[in-house]
């Protein structure tokens, strides 16, 4: 909670500071970084404990909640933001068009995301969602290279607002059906109504789910994804793909697990169709892309599909499925952050485009960067010895536990297809002789950005191998255990 306040304060201060002519962009970047770091430290102080409470009940009236669950998500979001700012350092400096306000907006969007996972009431959730989204709309437009940037920003703005309206309408329906919008109480009311007609609630919840599906870019709401990711600058794409998705899942999981638990099986069939369509269509989109950035955008749709497999399994294998979502979010977050981050580092100079073909023979010129990029690709593809593999293991196990073996097989087929488009990059980087001079513009490995990316690569391998031999060091077990702990905190009465 203090962390939340700290980020909000930082954002406002930064907004005021950036109006001063003496403050330069580098200062703003450092300020944002420090704010995020303080927030993360404050969050980690209560990480891994089991608790839940409503902060300042007189003032907020149960609109916000603080529990192990939200703290866990806070930690992920804040680390995501931190990593984004670390990775972006080089990019922001190389591309001169980033203004000082960018960092203020960045902090505001982080604040919105954190607020979202703390939200314990539908309207405060909506406000949080809009804070995060509005900041992102502007952040997407913050670049000058891509001629599609306005289109991307505008497309996301229009469609996102439309999705937001669904959320509002849904909340209205839920209120009409239950007489409350406070999480927890909604669930209790719903329990007492069991056996009676709850179609208003179902309609309302379906509309809310539609917003959710839009934001995580599941089928049939995926069309904006590729254009928007492609149109925005790379660090922003990374931030959206990895961090924003975490926050959205954070809220919707809480809603589904706690409140709509009694009526959750209503959507099972719908979700199965959505999952299969998402996996199929996402894989198809990813295969046909020539640009790496667009491929990563399309593959993020496929990863949404995997996450939804776990999401639908929650009904029958609650604990393992829910913690598998949380774990997979971390796994995806690390791999996507690394991939986007490294590509943004390589492409910081505008002469380098980022299509597959551009990476022909890359490994012979820049062996370390190629190795890191390979690690990220392997993790995204879910090859053993990376964290992506363990994440997939949890998700598929949860699905089979819930009786959805068929969905696990679908996921496996999508994984198999994904091997093609991820390995294609590795093959291009390693198996061709280096091309003439295209890589002169690539900066050498110096500074904070490559260091962060290297650490992410190590974390990915560590997460995949775990703590077999080195005791007392957090590894695979630690992450999944804390995920389970945070899941448990949802059910403390």
């Amino acid at each position: 909670m203090i962390a939340l306040g700290c980020i909000a304060l930082g954002a406002v201060l930064l907004m005021l500071l950036s109006a001063m002519p003496k403050v330069r962009m580098e200062h703003c970047s450092v300020f944002a970084f420090v704010t995020l770091l303080i927030g993360l430290i404050l969050t980690l102080a209560s990480f891994g404990e089991l608790f839940t409470f409503f902060p300042l009940p007189k003032f907020f009236h149960k609109m916000l909640i603080v529990d192990s669950y939200s703290v866990y998500f806070d930690a992920i979001i804040l680390s995501g933001a931190l990593v984004t700012s670390l990775i972006g350092t080089h990019y922001f400096q190389a591309k001169r068009h980033f203004k000082k306000e960018f960092f203020s907006l960045f902090l505001f969007s982080v604040f919105g995301m954190m607020l979202l996972v703390h939200a314990s009431e539908l309207l405060s959730a909506f406000i949080a969602l809009e804070i995060a989204s509005l900041s992102l709309y502007v952040m997407i437009g913050f670049q000058k290279v891509h001629d599609k940037r306005v289109e991307a920003s505008f497309q996301y703005l229009v469609l996102g607002s439309l999705a937001g309206i669904f959320f509002l309408l849904g909340s209205a329906f839920v209120y009409a059906g239950l007489g409350t919008t406070i999480l927890g109480e909604m669930g209790n009311r719903l329990d007492t109504l069991m056996g009676k007609d709850v179609s208003l609630v179902i309609i309302g919840a379906t509309l809310i789910l539609a917003t959710f599906l839009f934001k995580i870019s599941a089928f049939p709401f995926q069309n904006w994804t590729i254009d928007v990711y492609d149109g925005s600058s790379l660090p922003v794409s990374a931030f959206m793909a990895a961090t924003f998705k975490v926050a959205i899942f954070g809220f919707i999981l809480r809603l589904m697990l706690v409140d709509f638990d009694p009526i959750r099986d209503t959507w099972d069939t719908l979700f199965i169709v959505v999952i299969i369509a998402t996996l199929l269509y996402g894989s198809f989109l990813a295969i046909i892309q020539k640009s790496l950035k667009r491929m990563l955008a399309a593959s993020s749709i496929v990863h949404t599909g995997y996450l939804l497999i776990a999401f639908v399994s929650i009904g029958y294998a609650g604990e393992s499925a829910a913690s598998s979502i949380i774990y997979y979010l971390v796994a995806y977050f690390l791999s996507a952050m690394g991939a986007f981050g490294l590509i943004s580092y390589i492409a910081a100079d505008e002469h380098v485009r980022v299509t597959y073909e551009d990476f022909r023979g890359f490994a012979h010129v820049h062996p370390y960067m190629a190795a890191m990029l390979s690690v990220f690709m392997l993790s995204l593809a879910g090859i053993p010895s990376t964290i992506g593999f363990v994440g997939k293991f949890y998700i598929f196990t949860g699905a089979i536990e819930a009786g959805y073996t068929f969905l696990a097989v679908c996921g496996v087929v999508a994984t198999f297809v994904s091997v093609y488009y991820y390995f294609k990059l590795i093959a291009l980087m390693y198996f061709y002789p280096a091309c003439d001079s295209d890589w002169k513009d690539v900066p050498s490995l110096k500074g904070i950005t490559p260091l962060t990316i290297g650490l992410i690569a190590l974390a990915i391998i560590w997460g995949g191998i775990g703590n077999t031999f080195i005791a007392y060091f957090p590894g695979v077990d630690f992450l999944i255990d804390t995920a389970r702990l945070s899941y448990m905190s949802l059910f403390i009465k």
Binding site: P384, V390, T397, F416, Y432, V476, D477
Partner: protein
């Protein structure tokens, strides 16, 4: 850490160190060779201290992902022991033969990683761990073919990768399903083989699907008949070391995993579908044999002949009696030595003469006597001339199949002879007869290579003359498989 962990992780650790250190290709090669010698010593130690019984020995267990009951469980029994000895003997020899071939550092690093992966797969007694090594092993293979192959290597690399990953992913689902079934039946998570074999709640249909999941993965790796389309391209584009690993080690691991995992997990299905798989094996024997005859490239021909023998090995495994199973275990070793040796020799020849069709060879015996002698020994073993271990193995398998079904037995006996006899023709044409082709660039084997191949030739003869010595340690395990796991009795 126990001795098995050392065998698994030493190559990997050395590879990581060498990768970071600024050393050249030569130093890396020497390091890799040194490691392979150490591994041989360790394996020999394991062999000497292995008590001939069906028990798992040198067992080690460390927790890994506790919440899912996944642990690092490794152990060795008679069957894995013989494969371990095989690998430990083959690799130093292979390194000596590749000594001048590959001048790149990453080649040797990949070899070291592959060695770790192989040992890990071999010792795993936890299905999650097994899958981990099985799949991770693919990455260095991917690198070695893609980086050092010839021809259309990128395409064939992607093809073998996608192909094998497809197979293993089905196996992955099967493994997960078994884990979940164990959880529902016993209330606790576990992926240990010894726990999963106790599952009794599966219906016939479920078992069928799971069995199929495992079989597809293994059939692709071996390869069995309809899953072989990666074989030709991969073998002809791979560098010598890659082909050697694929044919004499990875393919054998497929058969090994078949016995180690599918047999105890699905004993009923194993027995019920034995006829089908023997048929498939014999069909592969004939089909690949014919395919081998028509090849004009010696590498492609060896690729098919290798697949043909693997069909025979598979048929022997499914013959469900001690002769067939022992024969298969024996042929795994014999064939690995012989084909491995042949591929390495062909690699030496290619280094001198370049890649040539068979019709452009001839008269090599005169220029390279050592080469020809070794070539002949390996060849005799492949064909199964009495006095070589290939003869003993093939005889046992044919006997085993004969026990299972006389018609199959007759068919196998006939085709073993026919399908292998083309090798003589190749030997005659490529090595013995003067054909007027220019082979003046051919050099005889160097000292390294002569020393490297000696253990292989020695084993071929020793195992052929005195097989009992080599069978003593594995027979109890094989009896255990048949009597206790399959309940079919030793001589049924």
């Amino acid at each position: 850490m126990g001795i098995l962990s050392w065998i698994i992780f030493l190559p990997m650790a050395v590879a990581c160190v060498l990768l970071v250190l600024p050393v050249g290709a030569k130093a890396t090669r020497n390091g890799a060779f040194g490691v392979s010698l150490i591994i041989f010593a360790l394996a020999f130690y394991v062999h000497e201290h292995f008590v001939p019984s069906a028990q798992m020995q040198f067992y080690e267990q460390y927790d890994w992902i506790k919440s899912y009951g996944i642990a690092y469980r490794v152990g060795v029994d008679g069957f894995s022991l013989i494969v371990l000895m095989l690998i430990a003997t083959l690799l130093p020899s292979a390194y000596l033969l590749l000594w001048h071939n590959e001048r790149s550092k990453s080649y040797w690093i990949s070899m070291l990683f592959i060695q770790s992966g192989i040992s890990g797969t071999l010792f795993s007694l936890d299905l999650f761990l097994f899958y981990f090594f099985w799949e991770a092993m693919l990455l260095p293979v991917f690198m070695i073919i893609g980086l050092f192959g010839s021809g259309n290597r990128v395409f064939s690399t992607l093809k073998i990768t996608v192909y094998t990953i497809m197979g293993s992913l089905f196996m992955f689902v099967s493994i997960l399903y078994l884990g979940v079934s164990h959880y529902y039946e016993f209330g606790a998570w576990s992926f240990a083989l010894s726990d999963l074999v106790r599952i009794s709640s599966l219906t016939q249909a479920q078992e069928m699907f799971l069995f199929a999941g495992f079989m597809i993965a293994f059939a692709i790796k071996i390869p069995l008949f309809p899953f072989h389309s990666w074989l030709l391209e991969t073998y002809s584009t791979s560098p010598t070391g890659g082909v050697f690993l694929l044919s004499s080690i990875m393919a054998k691991l497929g058969v090994y995993a078949l016995v180690r995992f599918t047999m105890p997990l699905f004993p009923d299905l194993f027995v019920a579908y034995a006829r089908f798989f023997i048929g498939l094996g014999i069909f592969g024997l004939i089909y690949f044999g014919i395919a081998a005859i028509v090849q004009d490239n010696i590498k492609k021909m060896l690729a098919y002949s290798s697949a043909s023998h693997l069909g025979l090995i598979t048929a022997g495994v499914f013959s469900l009696n001690i002769q067939g199973l022992t024969g298969s275990a024996f042929l795994i070793v014999a064939h690995a030595i012989a084909t491995g040796g042949l591929f390495l020799l062909v690699g030496v020849m290619q280094r001198h003469l370049g890649i040539r069709p068979l019709s452009a060879l001839g008269g090599i015996a005169k220029r390279a006597p050592w080469f020809s002698v070794y070539f002949a020994i390996m060849l005799f073993c492949t064909v199964g001339i009495p006095g070589t271990n290939g003869f003993v193995a093939e005889l046992l398998i044919v006997l085993g199949i004969f026990h299972y079904n006389p018609y199959f037995g007759v068919l196998a006996a006939l085709t073993v002879l026919v399908a292998a006899s083309y090798m003589f023709w190749v030997f005659q044409k490529a090595i013995l007869v003067q054909s007027g082709n220019d082979v003046s660039h051919m050099r005889d084997l160097s000292f390294h290579e002569i020393v490297g191949l000696f253990p292989l030739a020695f084993l071929i003869v020793a195992m052929g003359v005195y097989p009992d010595f080599f069978l003593a340690k594995i027979t109890p395990t094989l009896h255990y498989y048949l009597d206790t796991i399959l309940h079919v009795g030793a001589n049924a």
